[in-house]
Symmetry: C2
């Protein structure tokens, strides 16, 4: 998403008025799951959009749900399709994602965020409600899942996944933003304490088990991963989350590398886009716009030894095949 939000007594409050419309198997909101009808708009910089990129790939939805990748930086108004020839998304035919938001009859105002799913038949954004989008990929798009697609949101574990995900959202996914966008020292320190307490709690939980919930990868792992993979590159310095680097937290570092090296995770990460976005767009906290050259990301490929904990990444399913043509990211 764009980092929409506001300050309430100098602590950062994310604006969570997303468009609640859902694309479902039964089409109850007027938007039935259909092959080829929708386009997922993302930026590889954005952790919230990153969830959708991973889940789409793990479930094999690429052939039925195309993807528009916005550039890492956006202007005050909108994410833009500046990576595409002529600066226009080839399917939607628009230069700015804002155009698909403005095409909506309701004049949705809170902000131009990714991920957003656009109905290509109208050019209108259907939803940008990111916490629901990935769950709907798992539960509503099942007729289009690839053979061997893992169950990322198994019914028997949903309550536990939701519970962990809520804590991770509050203290980690959004917690890093509450550190970085704090308007004064006290709210920063509160966010910092909650962030690192939660990371300690996660380290303890993950010391003896390979994944967050159950013994396979679930939605909970995906949601944690997208923050962890940005931690040393951005949050540690830019957002002042600097009790320690991820690479100095052995359990979480092993866990994050294990996921990174699993098909569908590291092969969706573009560190250049990530660093460029945060450091070039947030000129309120980085006025020079200079992008740090470090850290060296090659450590992500080092041995993690987490296989010894048992579990299996995709359970009864299989790993996804190669990245779809045209969706490759630079290798480390």
């Amino acid at each position: 998403m764009a980092d929409q939000g506001k300050y309430v007594e100098k602590s950062y409050q994310r604006d969570t008025r997303y468009i609640p419309t859902r694309i479902t198997a039964d089409g109850r909101d007027g938007f039935p799951v259909e092959a080829g009808r929708y386009r997922l708009a993302v930026s590889r910089a954005c952790p919230w959009a990153h969830r959708t990129i991973i889940v789409r790939r793990l479930l094999g939805l690429e052939p039925v749900l195309s993807m528009a990748v916005a550039g890492p930086t956006h202007d005050a108004d909108s994410w833009t399709f500046d990576l595409d020839p002529g600066g226009v998304d080839p399917v939607l035919g628009i230069p700015r994602l804002k155009d698909a938001y403005e095409a909506r009859p309701d004049g949705y105002k809170p902000g131009v965020t990714v991920p957003a799913i656009v109905d290509t038949t109208t050019g209108q954004v259907v939803t940008n409600n990111f916490p629901q989008i990935t769950l709907d990929f798992s539960t509503q798009w099942s007729q289009f899942h690839r053979e061997g697609a893992p169950d990322l949101y198994p019914e028997a574990l949903r309550a536990e996944i939701d519970e962990v995900a809520e804590l991770v959202y509050r203290d980690v996914n959004n917690g890093v933003y509450r550190c970085g966008f704090a308007g004064e020292q006290e709210s920063y320190e509160q966010a910092y304490d909650r962030l690192f307490s939660r990371l300690d709690w996660l380290s303890e939980r993950l010391a003896g088990q390979r994944y967050l919930v159950g013994d396979t990868i679930t939605e909970a792992d995906i949601r944690l991963f997208t923050t962890l993979v940005r931690f040393d590159a951005v949050y540690h310095g830019h957002f002042k989350c600097n009790r320690s680097k991820l690479s100095e937290m052995p359990v979480l570092w092993g866990y994050a590398r294990d996921l990174f090296q699993t098909p569908g995770f590291g092969d969706t990460v573009n560190f250049d886009h990530i660093k460029s976005h945060y450091y070039e767009v947030h000129l309120d906290i980085n006025p020079t716009g200079i992008v740090p050259k470090g850290p060296d990301p090659s450590g992500w490929l080092s041995d993690h030894g987490r296989e010894a904990l048992g579990g299996s990444p995709f359970g009864a399913g299989t790993a996804p095949g190669p990245v779809a043509a045209g969706e490759e990211v630079p290798s480390l």
Copy 2:
């Protein structure tokens, strides 16, 4: 010093027009070494002033050269004595160091920097030429050195010390500022590359020898230490020197901890002052003024194993005694 400097083609150039007057044994510039006449003005935040604090203590000059400690933050104009009762230095009787600069008849303009030595008989700054001040402590103030004072600038090694110190100054001491105050990406990256190349060079040099030059602590070690001790607390994040933390460079981390744990080094470090200064004063690169809570400094006290390399910190001399009353810093 205050971070006086300017931008030349968007790279940071330190203004080095310091007051060249020297306080010498023979008084050739009109300022003979004398017990009780001069007052050393410092801030514990400033790496350039920090050199003088360490050397003064190692040589035992406290009884003859008193010290005025300015607070960690300064306004646009001057370092201030806001730590003292009533905000006035009890010896100089002034609230701002600028007053002692303005008392000079020549109207010295480049900036109000620490370290500065003030002649208490006139209230005027005599010199702020930091690279010379510590050398003069070693060579000109010898009649007042404590018993067992080490030789920090041994004649036989001066050429080598000067050579190493010059490289360390250019690429490391001043190099971190060239990273942090770079006006654009290219000059930042050049400074970053030079900094980390030099740190690699220093790591190689220090892998097999305990100190930089010879087998005892010299001026060269003091000059490197004051930058290393600020590295993870400030330069890594605030100045974007983030290829790695000091604690991730094993040789330099061991070397820096060895010095930190040597009397005269760690007992002069105030991490709160250091962090407060950089993050609260440089609002051009940290507009919120928020001071990061991390990193945890307790690692500075961990075992370093450098004794195995031989050498002895003070050679034929001895360690300094306890910190002078009133000059203590908070312990880690």
